[in-house]
Each structure stands twice: as structure tokens, then as C-alpha cells.
Symmetry: C2
Subunit: 712 residues, 2 copies
């Protein structure tokens, strides 16, 4: 079925003509009581069937003793019954022809193997009856677009539902309700808000797909703990992009501590954050840290569809507020716009000399400009946003006289511009009027500078996205079938060389005499290493000669080596020696490739040697990758400035590194059906025109992976 | 005068028996009107003199036409008159015997040279009359401890002043008012809150000194843009420590953008943040980024005087909330406590298997534990805080049924423990009951996880402080008088060697023949460098020979070098050649020392070569420094793990590096009256027992600094 059809079917599913509430009551201390009241309160337009064997009616609506007793098949049924009763209720719903069941009850796959087995059973029963499930262990859903509240959270107890073009799918029900509550306090709502719980049947990607096709949704937000169908995730990201809908995501489990917490929470695999980051970077899914910042950004974006943000103007009534905002933006790498001369000229009419700068401290107005801070505020925002260097304005609001009027003027100043305004409302009660005005006008605001900085930073990343060019297999990089097994250094390098990646010259010899004879094939100076399966760390046992300068010293050196190892490890089987060219290089990098269990083949570029771990200086890319993208990734390394010309030394051969990354990415692509890893450490990089060369490598190729592990 | 006496005098000064308000009115659109009303409203107990030539009385209090007309000398006078009238008013106040004047008016040193000159004039006039000044360009002060409000900000318009043992001195008036407002909304107040403005007379250190000695203040907060008296700052930090009062500080100008903004704001030198960080680390002044987080921490600390925090327990009603909190804490390097077996056993009574872990998801309670989330909440906090591994609990509150009752239970669970609880109240209106309860009980809370994470991280740093041992001059490091001038590599190394820092062997020779003769004094292989004042970058002109292995190739190499340079730079005066020993080393570091214009002599340790800038991998320490502190600083480098044993290579000689740092710090100390800088790059570090050696160095010593530049 096409994505559109799938999405349409799901859109119908959560826009039911009738709903049944199992365990409905009037008792507001119970799940069923609260949920039932919210459903009625928010004006659901379809038929409501309360299920309660002890009551004839609830809040004046006729009740039924069971789902089986309903006069017609309910489109949707919600239940928060004890875990032991879920199975029979699901069976009854499926029997009665329900199309969708929401199971709030927990202690299924979130609670160990027995729960997981029961969860599989209820899914089987539902599917056999043609019924889809949301949950279990979820908090239901809220669809302001459908006037449907199927959620017991106290957060739903608002006067009226607000509909905004923001869709939200959450793997945490509490977080969904919390953000619903928080955004409601700012006058912002949602199109649809779904808590997917254990995702036993319908899962995050199903609802994202629905939101991609939903005309009432302009921005998609997700809270993710683990991704169930990575390939679909990637495909939906493309669809969202094509639909012009930003997809924002917070993923728990970024750190080890968070990962463990997320794992125990929904029993779904937290996955490798770096692998997810790589895929999200390619697909322009915007990963964020703070869910509140995600919703702030969603609100800002839905009001300015398609708007790009790079440079920001800061406007503030306080020099201190401006300095702190500038520090935080600067710390997050968000550039303050430099005003054009025209802007500075316009500002000089009412700002003192030297004050027509960014951040704009409205307290710096000319003395003769008087006390009319309201006019100054409006003019300031108008002038700042008119500057072509400015893409957005951040207002850092501190307390000030007439703060409400100043706020109105600031907003008014921004109304003429298509560029967004975002407010940080630092103060407490003194800014209540300001907050209420901002809420009434739908202007994005937050009480916390960190949230605004994260939102603007994420908007910048979203704006800077460029679709990745298609990867094209380079010449001299024939498709390579993976053959399982661990690979020695020599074998690994042969695999690299076959893909067209330069490796140092090597000759394998049987003994010191052959070494002396054949050394010219490698050239001096050279490196000689013992070959013995018994020896893992060659240098620890004197099994490496560095910088050998002639045949004589090579032969004598290898004889000594053989004797020394023979004495130290009498049983070691010395199979021969590897003679390798000594390679110079100005910089050492590491290249790697592996199969991520979720997202398949990926390559890695990092600082070489021990620095990669020390500095956490690496970038992961999905494979295969095109040269332009690989080049951008290379430039993102902390050591990237070392690639440039430096004190008379020419720039390094970045093109050669990029070529090696591209070729390695194709090798990884060819092996994608296999669990593998391969690493070049170091890759020595020379000056431009002189290429790079792999001087050590290792690989492990474990064999075909099972289909259901993900990658096909 | 002693610090105590100074502080007492200032305490008296801001606890006046009478205050005069120049420009007092009943008009709430005017500064003087608002300030006058706030003064009356908050129950100031002394005599109030409104000054207004057009009114007989204001709000029923007799008004006077001028300060000169007052029946007695007012202890304090506040004015927000036009800038052009300030001087005459100050003169009148001084004449009438006022003890303290607060000048709200701006456009003095904050507005260019003319304003600065006028500012100096008013200070002179005031001092001549025995009057002290606060401001100009300030927002006045609020002393809940004295029931004194001398501030026009709308933030003061609260029902009643709250007094808390938190003192706050701010270089931004708007920020002071904003934080007053924000904390008031949380039920938290201050002892004294002072906006120091341009600090023309009384300055930040004066008020910090007062707070150090103030019995009503337990925690000191400061917002700093530039430090006027660095030596006093350091001395006060020691006094605050001795008084057991944490000193928290936010310093604007951390980044270039923020620095520029701060500079234009108060015209005080923003200074070098790294230099300030070094001094604050030594003195345990806790530098923070977010002023709201600073106040949150101050509130938490004042409730738990002297309490140390290292490891944290997270308690949450939501697995999602817990995972995100764990991620953020982990990202900030704050360890989650690992529960002891006793705690896990206690939790296993009501939590499902595998859930008795940190973060504690209260949703993970056993099914048979039922729905009583209130009891579970109380027990959870009690058990978590009883764990000896736990120093504090962070509650990440998401929406949940009975959230208010759950909040009460959580707080009750914490009451038995001396360890602090801090709440992050994520939701909006649904948590209103929770917020009100927390406010009523004085429990620290915030709506934003970032603030809590920053506060806990800062608390950890404060707790981990150890007083630095006294620095003792090492043997063989005779006091060294600075002699102005730029220093060549050789001269710089001689200075280092005289301080006992190992440098590589060097022989200076006049010509290639002498080089060949004397080379054995250095030993082969060696490095030979041309000496010529005309040549700055020797290697660019072929002026360096590396790895010279014998006398013959040295002599011929130097002849070729001389000819080559002679052809390329005919005018270059070749004075001779430097022969230097080639030094091996496993790691390159950089050492440096300089005189910071504010805080005097400092040393720096960093990654060597280009890495120091690339990675921003350096630590600055005030000089002189003791070995233990230098060793801790060395371990803080990103490259520090390279000092450890690695793949059969022994650990490196960290002791030798520490010794070199200590010696360099004494050199810096000896030169502290001079503007100087000296750099060793690289210092090659060998394996333990084999020391380290400076192989390149440069220095600049510019001569005595003027007394008034700071360092004596």
C-alpha cells in the first residue's frame, strides 16, 4: 500500500465516528473517569459509549455492560483495565468489530518476558479481528483537529482545546501530557498528539507517516526512545522533507545513563546515538536535547513556514541581558548578525554613538530621544529585522517600566517583517502582561534563555541542510563480496587496495635472507614486522624494526629478532616477515566502517591515533557517501584546521582523504548484509597532490545477518 | 581600616535613619514617582523626605523644595534627575551633609569621555563633602533586611518583601530587578540586592565585603561585567570562604560577542575570562553561565549550609523524564549515584525487578503496589536520600494524576534528610498546585532542566574545592629580576634553565668549521639552525637542518645553507649557527606564563603544537603554584590520558612536567611587576624517570608596569 493510503487509513482510524470507553465512570480518581469526562468536555462529535456494567448511564449518556452489548461496532475503544483483563477485553472488542483499540494498561513488554508474551498475544488477537492497537503502556491520544481527547492526564483539563499545526508523537506518555500542558499555557496546541507506548502494533513511524500527509500539520515533533523500523524512519524523513514539513526529534539515551534509563523504560533498543545522528544529518531530521526547546521551535517554525535562519539580532531593554544572550548564542555557535551601514545609520537617529550594534540595548538610546521606550522598541525591531544580514530577532526581556506596552511595541515592530521574533521573558510576575500579550498574538516565547538558544541553533541546522548528492561508485572500486572471518593487517590492506584505497607497499618474506634480497621491492627506509599467529602485540616482543636503512642491517636485525623471540616465546611459530614501506605524512587520521544494527552500513572519519577517543573527534556518515558530503564531514573534525596550509607547509591532500572515505563507504555498502567492521589507523595524509596512505588496518567480517535484524 | 570596619560602615550606610527622594512625585509614570511609592509601600521605618518644589506633601508626607531645605541632614538621597542636573544636586546633598547618594541617572562614563569627566567631577564633589555614591547609571538597591526599597523597578511592586539570606550585587540594574522578580515568584527574597551601575565610587567589592560580614546573608551572588579591584576581589573571596559563605558569580563577556556587549554597556574592562576562571578556581568563587541557575543554587545552598554534593539521585513519575534528566546530567559530567544493595533491597519492596535503579521511575512500581502513587513518592525520596551514595535528589516532575499530592509526598519524604531536594517542574498549568506547595515550603524548583543541571554542576564544583597549598620556591630556582626586551630562543632557554627547567643542549658557533669541531659537545643526531636577526621563520628559508648524523654532513649542510640564504636574502646578516640536541619525547605540551593586567602573574599548561588552539586545550593557573595544584591542572587537559601507560609504553613523566610548571610559575611571580610573556612550545615529555625538556622557547619582557594598572 502507498504511504499516502497508509496515512489516510490511520487518519481515519484516529478520527472515529464512535468511541467506547471501557471502565468509564464518573469517579475522577480513576483513569476511566477522568478520560471519559475529558472526552465529553472537549466536544467530541461522534457517538460515545461508556462501558460500565454497574451503571445505566454516566453523565447522562447511556452506559453498556460490555463492548459485546453495544448496538453497533465502535470505531475506537480505549481501556485502562487491570493487566490481567486486557486480553479478554481485546478479544471482545475484536469480536464486536472495533477498528482501533487504545490500551493504557502497562506491565507488558515493559515488564519482562511474561508481559512481552502477553503483549504478542493481544496483538495477534487484535490483528486476527482486523483491529489495530495503540499501546499498551501508553497515555492515549489527543487530536484537537478531531476534537478527540482519549487521554486521562490532568493536563487535558483545560477550558478549550487549542489546535495548532504541530503534530507530536511521543514514546513517553507523561512527556506528551507535560508538553501539551506547557504549550497550552503559551496558547499553543497541536493537530494531533499521540503516545505510542510499547508500540506493540501501531508505532511511531505510523503516526509520523500520518502527520506527513495530514493537511492540518506543518511541523512534526517526536520524542524517541528507540526506533522500531529504521528503514521506514529514513523513508519518512525524505517524505517529510518533500512535503516541506520540518521533523524535529528528541532522542533519549544520548548518554550511557540516559540510554540505560530509556532502555528500562520502554524495553526498546536505545541504539547508537552517533549512528542515528548520522542518518538524521543526511535526512534533515533535527535532533534536539530539550523537548521544551523542540516545541518552542515547532511553534516558531509553524508561524514562518520555510523560513531559514542563520544570523540573529538580539534586542533587549538591558545591557546585561544583551551581554548574557550574546554569550550564550556565541557559545552555541550562533552568529550575531553584523548590521549593515544602512541599519547603523537608521539606528544612529535614536541610539547614542557606538550603540547601534548587535545586541541592541534599548537603554542605549540618545538622551534627547527621551523616555519614550515604547516608540524606541517598535522602531528598533523594525530596523533590525529590515537588515538583510538578520534572519531572526531574539528579544531578551528583562524588567523595565511599561514592560507590557514595550512588549506590544516590540511585537508590532516585527509585524511588518516575514522574519521571526522570539522572546525570552526572563522576569517572573512583572512580565505577566507581556506573557499574556505574546500568548494572545501567538508569538513564540520562553522563560529560559537556554531553550531559545537551543531552538535557534536547531533552526540554523535545519536551514543549512543541503540534500546529499547521490553517491556514485568510483572507478577502480569493484563491488566486493564479504567473506566472513577476522582479517590480518595484510589481508585487510588487500581489501582496501582492491577498493582503490592507497596502502603502503608490502612484501612478505620467509626469512632474513629473502628479506635482504627482496627489500628493494619495498625500498628503504622500511619497516619489518614478524608474522606469527601467536604474537598479538608485535612491538611488545621486539617483533618490529622501524626505519631500516639497508639490506645488511635488515638481515642482521631480522636474525636477532628471530632469535630473541625464539628465546622469549619458544613455541611461537614464526611464519615469516612483512617488509613495509615507511610512509611520511603530516597528519594521521582514522577511517572506519561498520554495520549499524539499525541503520546499516556507515563510515567514520576521525582524528588518528589515540586522539579519536580522547577528543571524541569523529564523524559518522551513512554509506555509501558522495565526495561533497565526505568533504564536509572531514571539515567538521576538530583537527580539520590542520588540513590547511600552516607556517610554510602546504595544505594537505584533503581530496585524497575524501576519495578514500568514499571508496571505504562503497566497501561498507557492499558488505551491508554482513555484520562487519574495518578500521584504518592511521591513514597518513600528505601535502596536496601527494595523497594519503593506509599504514595499518584490521577487519572483521562475521557473516550474513538475519533478515529481521533490519538491513535487507 | 579593617575589612570588618569597612563592611560595618557600609552596612550602616545602606541602613539609613532618613532618606530623601529627589524628584519624588505621585506620578507613577515617573522614576521618582514609582521609587517613592515603593519606599513607602514596603514599610521603610525611618524618616522619608520627598523633594519636590511644586508640592507641599506627597502621599501625605511633607515635601521639601530642595535638599538644602531639609530640617536635618538625610542619611541617604536618591536621584533620577536629568544628567545635566546631577552635579548641582550632588553638591547640594554634600552641602547638606548627606552620607550616601544613589544616582540612577545614566550617560556618564557609560556614554563616552565627556560623561566620564562629569562622573569624576561628581565623585570629587561627593568625597569632598564626605558623601559616598552608588551609581551613576544604576537601579538603586533593595534591602529586605532593612525594609528599604530604593528602586523604581516595577518588579518591586509586590505585596510584601521576602527576606532570604541571599545577597546579590549586580552590575546590571535590569538583571537585578529581573532576578528579584523571578525569585519573588518562587517565594524567595534577598537580604540585600544592590545595583552598582558605573561604580564611580562604591563598587562591587564594597558590597561583597559588606555581605561577607552581614549576619543576615549566607550566600553571595554577583553579576559581573568587569572587575574594578582584582586584588580586593581575591582577598574577599578568601574572606567569604573563611566565613563559610558560598560566592556565586555570573560574568558577562565569556565570549567575544558577549564581551563586546558588556564593554559597551558599562565601559568597564571585560577582562580575560580564562584569567578570571583561574583565580575563581583557586578561591572557590563559583562561576556560572545562567543568572537564574545562580539564584536557584543560592536558594538551595542557603537551605543546606555547608552541604556538599557529588552524586545525585533522580526521581520522576515518568521514564521519559528520567531518561532526559539522566542524559542532561551525564552530558554535564554529573554522576548519577549507584544505589547500594541496601537501597535496592528497600526499593524492591515496591518496585518491579530491574526498576530499583537511578533514575527512579515511580511508574515502575510493582503492579501489586497498586495505584497509590502518593505513598510510593514519599517512600521513594526517603529511601533514595538515605543512600550513602546519594548527596542530593533531583525530582523531574512531569504531569501525573494527583500531582499536587505527589509533590507534597515527595517533599515530605525529603524532610527527614539533611540532603537537598531540587525540583524541575516541567509542566505548565497542571503543576500550579505543585509550584505553590514548593513555594510555600521553600523547596528550590525551576521550570527548566538546564537551570537545575547547571546549579547541581556548580554545587559539585563548589563542594570539590580544596584549598591550594602554599607555593614553596623549589631548590635551584633563584629569584630572577626581569630585564626588558624581546628574547631569542637561546636567551629564553637560558632564563628557563636558570629556573631549573630542563632545556636541550645548545652550542652557538660562528661558522660551519667551528660547528663540525664543536658538534660533539651537543652529540649526534643534532639540529642546526641559522642565527640571523633578519630571519623570523628559519625553516621557510632553509635555515634549519634536522637529524644531522655526523660532523661531515653538518659542515657541508651549513655551507649549503649559508650559500642558499645568501642567494635568497643577500642582505641577511648571518651571525652564526645554533647546534641543538635532538630530543625524543612521547608527548608535546606547551607551557606559558604572562602577566594578566587584572590578576597578575599566571602560568598556562596546554596541549603542544597546534593542538592547544585547535582543541582549546589549556588550563591557566595563578602564579606561583604548588605541585599538587599543578598536577591537578595537568590532569584536566584533554590530552591528559596520554600521560598514562599505553600499549606497553610506560606512563610519562608527569612529575617532571609539574616541576617545570612550578618553576615557570616562580619565574612569572618574580616578573609580576613587569608586562611579560614567555612560552615553551614544545615541551617534550618522556616516560617516567626520564623527565621532560624544552626544545623551543620565546619570551618578551616589556618593563615595569605602572602602579595603577593593578599588580603592585
Amino acid at each position: 500500500m502507498s504511504s499516502t493510503a497508509n496515512a489516510g487509513r490511520l487518519a481515519d482510524l484516529i478520527n472515529p465516528r464512535s468511541v467506547a470507553v471501557i471502565g468509564a465512570s464518573e469517579d475522577q480518581t480513576k483513569f476511566g473517569g477522568r478520560l471519559y469526562r475529558m472526552l465529553i468536555k472537549h466536544g467530541y462529535g461522534g457517538t460515545i459509549y461508556p462501558i460500565n456494567p454497574f451503571r445505566e448511564s454516566l453523565f447522562g449518556i447511556p452506559a453498556y455492560p460490555s463492548v459485546g452489548a453495544l448496538p453497533q461496532a465502535p470505531d475506537m475503544v480505549v481501556m485502562a483495565v487491570p493487566q490481567a483483563k486486557v486480553k479478554e477485553q481485546i478479544a471482545a472488542c475484536a469480536d464486536r468489530g472495533a477498528r482501533c483499540g487504545i490500551v493504557i494498561t502497562s506491565k507488558f513488554s515493559d515488564d519482562g518476558p511474561a508481559g512481552a508474551a502477553l503483549e504478542r498475544e493481544i496483538v495477534d488477537i487484535a490483528r486476527a479481528g482486523g483491529m489495530r492497537l495503540i499501546g499498551p503502556n501508553c497515555l492515549g491520544l489527543v487530536s484537537p483537529a478531531n476534537r478527540l481527547v482519549m487521554c486521562s492526564s490532568p493536563a487535558m483539563d483545560v477550558d478549550r482545546l487549542v489546535e495548532s499545526p504541530i503534530g507530536f508523537v511521543s514514546q513517553s506518555g507523561a512527556l506528551m501530557a507535560t508538553l501539551f500542558d506547557r504549550m497550552h499555557a503559551q496558547g499553543v496546541g497541536f493537530s494531533h498528539c499521540v503516545s505510542v507506548g510499547n508500540q506493540a502494533d501501531l508505532e511511531l513511524c505510523d503516526f509520523v507517516e500520518m502527520l506527513v500527509h495530514d493537511p492540518k500539520t506543518r511541523v512534526i515533533c517526536t520524542y524517541i526512545e528507540g526506533i522500531k523500523s529504521p528503514e521506514r524512519f529514513v523513508d519518512l524523513a525524505r517524505q517529510a522533507r518533500e512535503a516541506g514539513k520540518p521533523w524535529l526529534a528528541v532522542k533519549a539515551g544520548r548518554t550511557d545513563a540516559g540510554s540505560q534509563a530509556a532502555f528500562s523504560h520502554t524495553a526498546s533498543m536505545a541504539g547508537d546515538y552517533a549512528a542515528l545522528e548520522a542518518v538524521c544529518a543526511r535526512e534533515n531530521v533535527v535532533l534536539m536535547e530539550d523537548p521544551a526547546a523542540m516545541l518552542l521551535l515547532a511553534h516558531a517554525m509553524e508561524g514562518r513556514p520555510g523560513h531559514s535562519v542563520e544570523r540573529v539580532a538580539v534586542v533587549t531593554p538591558s545591557g546585561g541581558g544583551g551581554a548574557l544572550a550574546a554569550d550564550r548564542l556565541g557559545g552555541a555557535g550562533i552568529p550575531l548578525a553584523e548590521f549593515t551601514p544602512a541599519t547603523r545609520a537608521a539606528f544612529s537617529e535614536f541610539y547614542a554613538e557606538g550603540q547601534a550594534r548587535n545586541p541592541v540595548d534599548m537603554g542605549g538610546r540618545k538622551y534627547e530621544a527621551g523616555e519614550n521606550s515604547v516608540d524606541v522598541a517598535e522602531r528598533t525591531v523594525r530596523v533590525a529585522l529590515a537588515d538583510e544580514q538578520v534572519d531572526a530577532a531574539l528579544v531578551a526581556l528583562t524588567t523595565a517600566p511599561m514592560l507590557g506596552a514595550v512588549t506590544e511595541a516590540l511585537v508590532k515592530g516585527g509585524e511588518s517583517s516575514p522574519k521571526p521574533l522570539m522572546f525570552v521573558v526572563h522576569p517572573g510576575r512583572a512580565a505577566q502582561d507581556s506573557r499574556e500579550f505574546l500568548r494572545s498574538r501567538g508569538v513564540p516565547y520562553t522563560d529560559n534563555l537556554s531553550e531559545a538558544v537551543e531552538a535557534l541553533g536547531a533552526w540554523r541546522r535545519w536551514s543549512a541542510f543541503q540534500p546529499w548528492p547521490a553517491a556514485v561508485r568510483p572507478a577502480g572500486c569493484a563491488p566486493s563480496g564479504p567473506v566472513p572471518g577476522a582479517r590480518s593487517e595484510s589481508e585487510s590492506k588487500r581489501l582496501l587496495a582492491a577498493a582503490g584505497i592507497p596502502v603502503n607497499r608490502e612484501v612478505i618474506v620467509a626469512d632474513p635472507a629473502e628479506a635482504a634480497r627482496r627489500a628493494p621491492e619495498v625500498g628503504f627506509p622500511l619497516v619489518a614486522k614478524v608474522i606469527s599467529p601467536a604474537i598479538v602485540h608485535k612491538s611488545d616482543v621486539g617483533g618490529v624494526l622501524l626505519g631500516v636503512r639497508d639490506a645488511e642491517s635488515l638481515e642482521s636485525g631480522l636474525r636477532e629478532m628471530r632469535e630473541g623471540i625464539g628465546r622469549a616465546m619458544p613455541g611461537a611459530d614464526i611464519q615469516g616477515f612483512s617488509l613495509q614501506s615507511m610512509e611520511g605524512g603530516e597528519l594521521e587520521l582514522i577511517l572506519g566502517a561498520r554495520r549499524d544494527p539499525q541503520f546499516g552500513a556507515q563510515v567514520l572519519i576521525g582524528s588518528g591515533g589515540v586522539l579519536v577517543e580522547l577528543l571524541q573527534d569523529f564523524v559518522v556518515l551513512p554509506a555509501p557517501v558522495d565526495p561533497a558530503t565526505a568533504a564536509r564531514a572531514l571539515r567538521r573534525l576538530k583537527v580539520a584546521p590542520l588540513l590547511d596550509a600552516y607556517r610554510g607547509r602546504a595544505a594537505l591532500d584533503a581530496d585524497a582523504v575524501v576519495d578514500a572515505v568514499v571508496r571505504l563507504s562503497w566497501l561498507a555498502h557492499d558488505w551491508r548484509g554482513t555484520d562487519f567492521e574495518i578500521e584504518v589507523n592511521p591513514l597518513k595524509v600528505r601535502v596536496a597532490g601527494q595523497g594519503c596512505v593506509a599504514v595499518d588496518a584490521r577487519a572483521r567480517i562475521d557473516g550474513q545477518v538475519k533478515k529481521d535484524e533490519g538491513e535487507s
